[in-house]
Homo-oligomer: 192 residues x 2
Amino acid sequence: MTAVKGETRTRLLDTALGLFTVHGVEGTSLQMIADALGVTKAAVYYHFRTKDEITEAVAQPALDELVALLDHAATINRPGPRADYVIDGFVDLVVRNRVLVAVLCSDPGIIRAIDRILHGEESVMTRLPAMLVGPDADEGAQVSSHVALAGIAMAGGSPALAAMDDETLRRHLVDAMRRQLGRPRRRDTPTP
Amino acid sequence: MTAVKGETRTRLLDTALGLFTVHGVEGTSLQMIADALGVTKAAVYYHFRTKDEITEAVAQPALDELVALLDHAATINRPGPRADYVIDGFVDLVVRNRVLVAVLCSDPGIIRAIDRILHGEESVMTRLPAMLVGPDADEGAQVSSHVALAGIAMAGGSPALAAMDDETLRRHLVDAMRRQLGRPRRRDTPTP
């Protein structure tokens, strides 16, 4: 029974994410989610009371991973290896969640859900660039870190690159992010 | 009378864009736009029949500029100067339309409006990367061009960089885009 419930929950969140990418979070209703699943609205209510709860559940796993990535990175003292770790980990997260990350970074509905989830925690959007270029980076490095992070996140979900297999995309995204941040090019292909 | 009408239209489009950034296109109704303007829904209908018409009118000017940029770039034969021209022009467009471009690149409602506007034209999203890295670029260069374009577009609208003045942001974005595309660093500050 629990397994079946878990499966339905996963299918519901996948369906919701698909609708979010087409209609945006605010343009997606519980009824649309129910219709796409071929179930009643009551069946959706069984799992989630509100769309806010669904949005948070969609964003939560990737966000937990991102926070864990940043927490581990904070234990690495030397800036170079710390940036390398964040680059590999961030690209890996993007590639494993291509569609989700693009929605995460752009949909105002998801951005509000992220704020609710992270209530009280220091903002991921502040910690992430700081891990790459240091907390006292000059303006040029700050802009560069934002271009790198937004570029990787959005390119991962780009329809133009959808046909590229994960491993190839991962390698090129790591190269692109290192180039943007002025990190030396890797000779090996990292598999974080 | 025409001047007053033009002013109202501009204010209406500015208000709509502001609501789009908060609620997404699909989450914004004509009623919300009317309420934010302090007018009746009928007054909004006087200018636009549907939300689609408003969305298209919001996107149209920047899109016309982008098409003009690409059309001119197509007349430049040498790949290096052509890429330089597109980099300067694209960054300029982003900086002059910081909020709009971030919404343009991410909101599914606007992306559909763009498809309607450009119906029949070769896709801007195909032409733009090709102008930067050539039509037969290898996979790495393709990924790089997407990272550069998405990164510049999204970083331009980033709240974290909102306090930066236009000229400083423009200079750093040009640097970042050139670095991503492997173009040599400029010594002067171009003002396109």
